[in-house]
């Protein structure tokens, strides 16, 4: 079942075309990798889908419903969630309160219910000591909190924007397990923007490659990693050391 579709989505900022005629779709339970060099328009694309900015042209549909100009908070209620690359936690709320926000406002739970749900999410992500101030959290905890925050929306479509950056192997494995579980058990359609190719290879069912605002390749990781245009987009080298091995 198709969850999310974009048709000919374009975004112009004055002279610059950040996203150019992008059409794609995501199915429930699918994990889609979105890769591409810096400035390719990946985050802008996610911003368009989550409603932070509005497209110049094109259509966005969620489960068949046109959400192209729907305000961001309404999209959150429908079941679209995303994490942010530059995480600015809500500094005057505790860690668990940060997570509760989505539960309260995207899903309409009471404060009590929201706290219980948030506690559950903290458990899943191994976040302890939940009533701490956000200034006391480690980077890993902030990242996990950001994921939990997005999960509190109980999303049907989730975008993770470079969540693995700065995590070590153990921690990366943790997150990968969580993402797999989400897709498998809750049928969430997940889009993963990443630069770490090992993660993309392990995690995704399908990969979409963007460059200069356009999709230049699509397919399984094994295929697109051999695609010459993709390799060139990453500055004429192997996309990761292990590709040349396989």
């Amino acid at each position: 079942m198709i969850r999310l579709t974009t048709k000919n989505i374009t975004k112009r900022f004055l002279g610059l075309v950040a996203v150019n005629n992008v059409s794609f779709s995501m199915e429930e339970g699918e994990i889609l990798g979105i890769i591409g060099p810096n400035g390719a328009g990946k985050t802008t694309f996610i911003n368009l889908i989550s409603g932070i900015i509005m497209p110049s042209e094109g259509v966005i549909e969620f489960k068949g419903k046109d959400i192209t100009y729907m305000p961001a908070h309404e999209r959150a209620r429908l079941g679209i969630a995303r994490t942010y690359q530059l995480i600015h936690p809500l500094e005057n709320l505790t860690m668990i309160e940060n997570i509760m926000v989505g539960s309260i406002f995207a899903k309409g739970h009471s404060l009590k219910e929201a706290r219980i749900i948030a506690l559950g999410l903290c458990d899943e992500l191994s976040l302890r000591d939940v009533d701490r101030d956000t200034s006391r959290l480690t980077i890993l905890e902030i990242k996990k909190m950001e994921i939990a925050r997005a999960l509190a929306n109980e999303p049907e479509v989730l975008f993770l924007d470079e969540v693995m950056a700065g995590l070590n192997t153990e921690e990366t494995k943790d997150i990968i397990a969580v993402v797999h579980k989400l897709a498998r058990e809750r049928n969430v359609a997940i889009g993963v923007i990443e630069h770490v190719m090992g993660v993309i290879r392990e995690l995704t069912h399908r990969v979409m490659v963007m460059e200069a605002g356009e999709i230049i390749a699509e397919g399984k990781y094994e295929d697109i990693s051999k695609n010459p245009r993709v390799i060139e987009a990453y500055l004429g080298g192997a996309t990761d050391a292990e590709t040349t091995k396989s």
Binding site: A76, A81, N92, L93, E97, G102, I104, F105, A106, L111
Partner: protein, 311 residues
């Protein structure tokens, strides 16, 4: 433990406040009324500040409520207590209309519009000569409770309690999450489903209604209203200075600031008739620059708060 202790303190203060008329003469009661009025206004200003919006329109809605109250008594003959409620509703409705128009653009635009509000309301009311008595203002027959000092005190105390209740509501319900999220990071808030416009509008309407209510209480206590008295800059400056001094983003901060500054202001008014307001201006500057979280920050003394220099 700490929570119970502060609840006890609040209870003791509350009882003292209620019992004051039995022990104090007219002048202290008058001072008490003024302090409570400013305290209530300071709390209402802070309530909106928690959403990240600075309003300079306190005096505007206060004066608007005052006129709504006195005009409804003089022209429509409704009872005084009812006119106070009407003042609240009227201010709330006007705030709703204005909020609808301007709250989609926030921060600076909102603040500057509210800065103009006091003047605009004053000019409009002053221009409606026949209805409002123009620059000379309008006088009521008699004052609520026949001017009984104790009853006037308790009336103002009721106004303060309403303000306190509002602040408590804002701190302990969904509203707390909404406005804090909006203040800290609007984009994150939106992504979590917060309808920013709706919650800001709610906060604006509620706080303006409280300010109108207090204006109604004020005018009913004195029996007359002129454009200059009810739209006086005092009603805007002192509450802001008090909330800043005591510590913003809380209920206890404005309370503390009002207690401290309230007494100082009575003394200042006598000593420096012209320009005593300069103290508040300078106080606002000093607090924002050196202790944005107010006295509460100094009292806490924790390293966390010392780092967080910004408001």
């Amino acid at each position: 433990m700490k929570r119970n202790a502060s609840k006890m303190v609040a209870l003791v203060f509350g009882i003292m406040a209620i019992m004051l008329p039995f022990f104090a003469g007219d002048y202290p009661l008058q001072v008490g009324r003024n302090i409570m009025m400013y305290m209530a206004l300071a709390i209402s200003w802070d309530m909106l500040l928690r959403s990240g919006q600075v309003s300079f329109g306190i005096a505007g809605f206060f004066g608007l409520g005052a006129y709504a109250s006195i005009l409804s008594v003089v022209h429509a003959g409704i009872p005084s207590w009812l006119s106070i409620l009407f003042a609240a509703v009227f201010s709330g409705l006007i705030a709703f209309a204005i909020g609808l128009l301007i709250l989609r653009l926030r921060a600076m635009y909102f603040s500057i519009v509210t800065l103009a509000l006091g003047e605009i309301f004053r000019i409009i009311l002053q221009n409606m000569h026949d209805f409002t008595g123009g620059p000379e203002g309008i006088v009521m027959q008699g004052v609520i409770f026949g001017g009984n000092a104790n009853r006037l005190y308790w009336l103002t105390l009721t106004g303060l309690c309403i303000s306190l209740a509002g602040s408590y509501w804002f701190e302990n319900s969904k509203i707390h999450f909404a406005i804090t999220a909006i203040r800290n990071n609007e984009i994150s808030a939106q992504s979590s489903g917060v309808d920013i416009f709706k919650w800001l509008l709610l906060a604006f309407v509620v706080t303006s209604a409280i300010q109108g209510l207090l204006g109604g209480i004020f005018v009913q206590s004195y029996g007359f209203a002129t454009p200059d008295t009810v739209f006086s800059a005092d009603f805007m400056l002192l509450p802001i200075a008090m909330a800043l001094l005591g510590g913003i983003y809380s209920t206890t901060g404005p309370v503390l600031g009002a207690l401290l500054l309230g007494i100082v202001s009575e003394w200042l008014k006598l000593k420096i008739p012209y320009g005593h307001l300069v103290v508040y201006g300078i106080m606002i500057i000093i607090v924002i620059l050196f202790m944005p979280r107010g006295l509460k920050q100094l009292v806490r003394q924790s390293p966390k708060n010392a780092e967080r220099g910004k408001a």
